[in-house]
């Protein structure tokens, strides 16, 4: 049994006169202790997917429905809202993109850490403080005792993200969802934070759902990769497979667009066009209008996600054969 099993997740937003579908029939699962990356351009539905697993989407205007979202065999959708808190922070934790705004500005770091710990373990204030101090030390914050008394505005963005990580790890969750944890940070600390997350997961045998648009990060931290485009998974494979033999033209394009992989003198590769608004998703292949590889069928019929052997799935009529990012 997988730790998390998402079946046919659909997410829409109520807007103007209709429901805009931003995520369509999304299915995937995460094994215990595995790190899975969800990759895609901004606006393709990655973050709402993460939020919907935690049931943190604000509905309305959002609207979600799924055949099932099983966590340890139990359907999250069946849990009444008043019991959801037992799951959040305890079994599944989340780290957000914006460390600058994700901490309450008027409450001390200590208070924000201990309230999580006390909520889930029911321990005393003193025990919780000791635990919070340990957590801060674990995520590499110097002088943790003093830091507990400080407010978020007294810390840098990197420090705050460390606090967020400490908070997320403090109750030993089984699954950590990291929603673009390094995007808002300085390039110099991005690596440190990513390593911190990957390390913590390995040590605690914790599963990780890493959401990012950065292929470099994927290579460092993930075991398995899901590439998402316009609300659908277009390719899913192990991290080796994705980097060595990307089959979907979109994945291929993404890999070619990483600066530094192109040969000198070659023009820098970009995927033409941009992600369509959910209002204009095509009925056929959603990537076809931007695809260099599209054939006639691509414009007429919607492809399904199919196994092409070895746990490699793609959604494409005309995949790149023996694809190479640097062909």
């Amino acid at each position: 049994m997988s730790l998390l099993e998402v079946n046919k997740l659909n997410i829409g937003f109520q807007g103007g006169d209709g429901l805009m579908n931003v995520v369509t029939d999304l299915s995937f699962d995460i094994e215990e202790g595995k790190a899975v990356a969800l990759v895609g351009e901004s606006g393709c539905g990655k973050s709402v997917t993460a939020l919907s697993i935690m049931r943190l989407l604000i509905c309305p205007p959002a609207h979600m429905e799924a055949e099932s979202i099983l966590f340890e065999g139990k359907d999250i959708q069946q849990i009444p809202e008043r019991h959801m808190w037992k799951l959040r922070g305890n079994d599944i934790s989340m780290i957000f993109q914006e460390p600058m705004t994700s901490l309450n500005p008027v409450t001390t770091i200590g208070k924000q850490l201990t309230e999580t710990i006390r909520q889930h373990t029911g321990c005393s204030k003193k025990e919780a403080l000791a635990k919070a101090e340990d957590m801060l030390r674990e995520v590499g914050i110097p002088e943790p005792k003093q830091r507990l008394r400080e407010y978020p505005h007294q810390m840098s963005g990197g420090m705050r993200q460390r606090v967020m990580i400490a908070m997320a790890l403090s109750c030993d969750p089984k699954l950590l969802i990291a929603d673009e944890p390094t995007t808002a940070l300085d390039v110099t600390i991005q690596d440190q934070i990513l390593e911190l997350i990957a390390d913590a997961c390995r040590r605690r045998k914790m599963a990780l759902l890493l959401i990012t648009h950065n292929m470099g990060i994927v290579a460092e931290a993930a075991d398995e990769v899901m590439v998402m485009y316009a609300g659908q998974i277009v390719e899913k494979a192990s991290v080796q497979e994705i980097f060595d033999t990307p089959m979907h033209p979109y994945t291929n394009g993404m890999l070619r667009a990483i600066p530094g992989t192109a040969h000198t003198g070659e023009e820098f590769y970009v995927i033409r066009g941009r992600v369509p608004s959910p209002l204009f998703f095509s009925k056929a292949c959603r990537f076809a209008p931007r695809c260099d590889h599209a054939c006639e069928r691509c414009h007429k019929e919607a492809p399904q996600l199919q196994d092409i052997g070895g746990g490699h799935y793609i959604r494409c009529w005309n995949p790149i054969k023996g694809g190479n990012a640097n062909e």
Binding site: I58, W85, K86, R88, G89, F96, N104, V106, H120, E150
Partner: protein, 328 residues
């Protein structure tokens, strides 16, 4: 040093030149108007009985022959010693008359402010939780009706209806002078009855805007990332609201108390006049209507001081509730 204290001291230092400017402005405004400035010191009736030589001697003694700047500093010196001169109309020392009136005006405004916040905040939060519902839309319309009603007209209408026609409430003043040897509770009840209309009307007209402001604040805060964090880490909804949302909703309110108080003081000029409440507002209005210059100068100064105190209290409150200012 505590940076919060620093912040408050800095605000205080800004206020000193402002206070100075207010005194200068009110002095200049009054000295350029016609009339013998000596009347301020000896009273108008006495002035009329004096012979020209007496006047000249008195003028000399009071130092009124000296240049205007020197006289301004004399006046300032008097104020610092607690003397504001004599009212043209009553011949009484102004500081005596002003003292208890300030108390009345301030208590009235504080009660009004308290009640407005007490009802407005929960109402605003309710509206935010049921955004675009019937109550929310009704409150939105109601807030604009509240702003649009002329306060003096509403007061007159209320007095006519409740005091004259229905005789439910007393219409004027703050206490019933016909009450003979009232007990303590009788006196309290009497005061409450007198306060219902002036306070109630101000609360009713201001309530809508207050609730609207609170609603928008709440909607702002509830969509903040840190509220989502609080949910994500597994706090039950009750703790999310009380621990993270409400507190941040209260923050901006603290900084607005000063502005609200200034607004209420501005409104008290007409409200107090209509309800014949012996407060600073009615006192100022009557002084203006009677061209009672020494009183005008004193009340202008005192109203400004009250408003400044209001802003200062706001600053202090803001410091207390928001660590971003308190701790650097």
């Amino acid at each position: 040093m505590n940076s919060g204290l620093k912040f408050v001291i800095k605000r205080l230092l800004v206020m000193i030149p402002l206070l100075f400017a207010v005194t200068l402005a009110s002095y200049l405004l009054m000295t350029i108007t016609p009339g013998d400035p000596m009347a301020m010191y000896v009273g108008q009736d006495q002035l009329r009985q004096m012979t020209p030589t007496q006047k000249e001697q008195r003028r000399e003694a009071l130092g009124l022959n000296r240049p205007i700047i020197v006289r301004y500093f004399d006046w300032l010196d008097d104020i610092l010693h607690g003397t504001f001169g004599t009212s043209f109309k009553t011949g009484q020392p102004i500081e005596k008359e002003i003292g208890q009136r300030i108390g009345i005006t301030m208590s009235l405004n504080i009660i009004t402010l308290f009640l407005t916040y007490l009802v407005g905040i929960p109402l605003g939060i309710y509206c935010a939780k049921h955004k675009n519902g019937i109550v929310d839309n009704a409150v939105m319309l109601y807030s604009y009706v509240g702003i649009s009603l002329p306060a003096f007209w509403l007061s007159i209408m209320a007095i006519t209806l409740f005091a004259v026609k229905l005789k439910w409430l007393p219409g004027l003043g703050l206490s019933d002078l016909t009450l003979k040897n009232p007990t303590f509770w009788q006196e309290v009840w009497d005061t409450i009855k007198h306060l219902i209309m002036p306070v109630g009307l101000t609360v009713i007209t201001g309530l809508g805007s207050m609730a609207r402001a609170e609603r928008n604040l709440y909607l702002d805060v509830i969509n903040q990332d840190y509220v989502r964090t609080a949910r994500a880490k597994g706090l039950p909804e009750r703790k999310v609201k009380w621990g993270h949302a409400y507190r941040n909703v209260m923050l901006p309110l603290a900084s607005e108390i000063g502005g609200s108080l200034a607004g209420l003081i501005g409104g008290s000029y007409i409200i107090e006049t209509i309800f014949a409440i012996p407060g600073l507002g009615a006192y100022s209005t009557n002084a203006i209507l009677d061209r009672d210059y020494p009183v005008i100068m004193a009340t202008l100064l005192m109203s400004s001081v009250l408003v400044m105190v209001g802003y200062l209290v706001s600053d202090i409150l803001y410091c207390v509730v928001d660590p971003r200012i308190r701790v650097q």
